[in-house]
């Protein structure tokens, strides 16, 4: 890509909106994933009792739904980003492409 075209795209409002929105979402979700995963790991490292506590009268512990939550959360947050990126952000991208050519 030549520099002139790159600069033209970089100065367009649609491009700046795309980059700002998408990178904000990407970094926010990255932070969330880090918090959830390392929160889980550090919870195990420092306070095992939380996860060993019984959920009800039976043998099932809080660790089970929490572990399952971490897995489901990971899949769901990935799905959330992909949905957003493949609809709203791709529309912006198409708009940028139309303006550029």
């Amino acid at each position: 890509m030549d520099l002139e075209l790159a600069n033209k795209i970089r100065s367009s409002a649609a491009y700046r909106e795309l980059v700002r929105k998408r990178s904000r979402l990407g970094w926010t979700l990255t932070a969330l994933v880090l918090i959830v995963y390392y929160g889980y790991v550090l919870l195990i490292a420092f306070d095992k009792d939380v996860l060993s506590a019984k959920l009800g009268a039976g043998v099932t512990t809080w660790g089970m739904p929490i572990g399952l939550f971490v897995i489901v959360f990971t899949v769901a947050i990935t799905g959330f980003y992909v949905r957003r990126a493949n609809s709203a952000y791709d529309e912006l991208t198409d708009q940028i492409k139309r303006e550029a050519v």
Partner: protein, 553 residues
């Protein structure tokens, strides 16, 4: 491997490698009686995949078709293939064995392998697809001087591929000895020969379809097992857990975290290796170039995450199912009350318990197919690093013809195949537990920082990326050698100078710091060209304008 040893190993995180999801040290296996049902099913799988390879060979005439299947794979298909790369035999047998032995700790272990995927989705997938063409070096070297970055990327790729491949080959030999009753060396030669056929003739098209078929078979088989287990307990997890607690020797402690995470530094370091290592594995990164555009690249990570997450839930149920249905059945135990063939056989015995001899054969055949598909992907990644990054770009300065590049890829495939078989046989009796964790650590400390900073940091220069990348690579290797897994377990020294289970926390920091330091102090003319190229690169990485669109089929 006996239960006590596994327990201790898990506590020290060494078990992280005995069942490292994508790789394998299945331990020393005892040869079993020849299992003809399994062999027949495996032969059926091989015949089917050879037909696919024949079909794929007709579509593999150019270098682009060889490396990326012409970019004609859909997001859903690619997601299954990526999941297949991750759901190896060691991950299926190893994680269910970890659950069987330690209960909840097995779940903690498997969750780590899932966490790299959202990071890849949010920060990497679309940028990779928009900037790259065949290998991750295309992205890392986009605005830099090609020679040094390509040389670094090829080294990073080959180190990761080599250790990963040896671990897979040794795992394959052990597993097949166990499941099929074949000699170790025969098993290794069969794996090497079939993998070469897939890659040589069918390139990425055959490698992807073999991986997709195997992923479907494995998911179907594991789903069936988990269903049969839950069905016996009227779909009540509580009833399953209650019975497991009743019969397991560790009683209620299998329901809560045990010794898997003891020291927070090791835990975090290990988490970093898994999370960022996943984002630096060359055979995974390469799959992002097989889809036509960024949209499909994003879809593929979503599907991969979904299938891998689902698979880890299944292995957890399978592990508990094995506690209830296998550990209580004397048919699966030897005279000393140990599981026949070791604890890695928990899932295999469960297959027999819920589905009889035919289903046992099916699961055994799927486990073999799994290894084949994973080694084919690894070999393809190694071959592309040599032919595309070293031969075509460094030696021929981008002027190699597609036919010559393809020829070099094929020669490299044969060389890698032969080397993998020879090393697989050489390492038969060695302790290889460290190899896959080393591969992940190198990917996280060398490949990932270079890729990440070259795409996201304007200030990054050729000098910084090349030197920092090599520093990350060397520190990952050095710290692994100084850790218990090599220093004590392989070299038999009394104690390890590096006390933590994984070097990634430190070696990744070295990689990032090295790139930063040697970039900001870089006053060369090249540095100005590198930094001036950032804007054009950023626009292409964000919008895909100018990106190579895949062929639509």
């Amino acid at each position: 491997m006996n239960t006590r040893r596994l327990g201790i190993a898990a506590a020290l995180f060494a078990a992280s490698s005995t069942c490292f999801a994508a790789g394998a040290d299945l331990g020393q296996a005892v040869k079993q009686a020849t299992n003809w049902t399994a062999i027949c099913m495996f032969v059926a799988f091989v015949i089917a995949t050879l037909f696919i390879t024949k079909w794929a060979a007709r579509r593999t005439r150019s270098a682009a078709e060889f490396y990326t299947a012409g970019g004609g794979i859909t997001g859903f298909q690619n997601g299954l293939a990526i999941a297949g790369d991750f759901m190896s035999a060691a991950s299926f047998l190893g994680i269910s064995a970890a659950v069987y032995t330690n209960g909840y700790d097995g779940l903690i272990y498997s969750i780590g392998f899932l966490m790299g995927w959202p990071i890849i989705t949010f920060l990497m997938a679309e940028r990779l697809r928009n900037l790259g063409r065949f290998t991750f070096a295309d992205v890392a070297a986009y605005r830099f001087k090609q020679g040094p970055i390509r040389a670094f990327a090829a080294s990073g790729t080959l180190v990761v591929v080599a250790f990963y491949l040896i671990a897979q080959m040794v795992g394959a030999g052990q597993l097949i000895k166990l499941l099929f009753g074949l000699e170790y060396w025969i098993a290794v030669v069969i794996v090497g020969a079939l993998m070469m056929v897939y890659v040589l003739f069918g390139g990425m098209t055959a490698t992807t379809w073999v991986q997709i078929i195997k992923a479907c078979l494995l998911l179907a088989g594991a789903s069936f097992m988990a269903f049969m287990v839950l069905w016996q307990f009227h779909f009540s997890p509580e009833a399953l857990f209650a019975k497991a607690v009743e019969v397991h020797e560790k009683k209620a402690s299998i329901m809560a975290p045990g010794n898997f995470i003891k020291d927070p530094i090791s835990a975090i370091s290990f988490g970093i290796a898994l999370m960022f290592g996943t984002a630096g594995l060359p055979h995974i990164l390469m799959r992002f170039f097989t889809v036509p555009n960024a949209k499909e690249a994003r879809k593929s990570v979503f599907w991969a995450t979904t299938w891998i997450g689902y698979f880890y839930i299944l292995t957890f149920i399978i592990g508990f199912g094995a506690i209830v249905l296998v550990s209580t059945n004397p048919m699966f135990k030897d005279a000393a009350g140990k599981l026949l063939g070791g604890s890695n056989m928990a899932a295999v015995h469960l297959a027999s318990a819920v589905g009889g001899n035919v289903f046992l054969g099916f699961i055994s055949a799927v486990a073999f197919a799994t290894i084949l598909a994973v080694v084919a992907g690894l070999t393809l990644a190694g071959a592309s690093a040599v032919s595309h990054d070293l031969y075509a770009t460094v030696f021929k300065h981008g002027k190699a013809s597609s036919a010559n590049e393809l020829f070099v890829s094929r020669i490299t495939t044969v060389v890698l195949g032969v080397v993998a078989v020879v090393l697989g046989i050489v390492f038969e009796k060695q302790n290889i537990a460290f190899m896959v964790s080393l591969a992940f650590a190198v990917a996280a400390s060398a490949n990932f920082p270079v890729l990440f900073l070259s795409v996201l940091w304007r200030g990054c220069t050729t000098r910084g990326a090349a030197i920092g990348g090599f520093l990350g690579l060397l520190s990952a290797v050095l710290l692994t050698v100084l850790s218990k897994a090599v220093w004590v377990d392989v070299f038999h020294f009394a104690s390890a100078p590096f006390p933590y289970a994984s070097p990634a926390l430190f070696s990744m920091a070295v990689g990032f710091a090295g790139i930063w330091l040697f970039s900001v102090t870089d006053r060369s003319a090249r540095a100005r060209i590198d930094q001036a190229g950032f804007d054009a690169q950023a626009v292409r990485s964000e919008t895909g304008i100018g990106a190579v669109e895949g062929a639509s089929h």
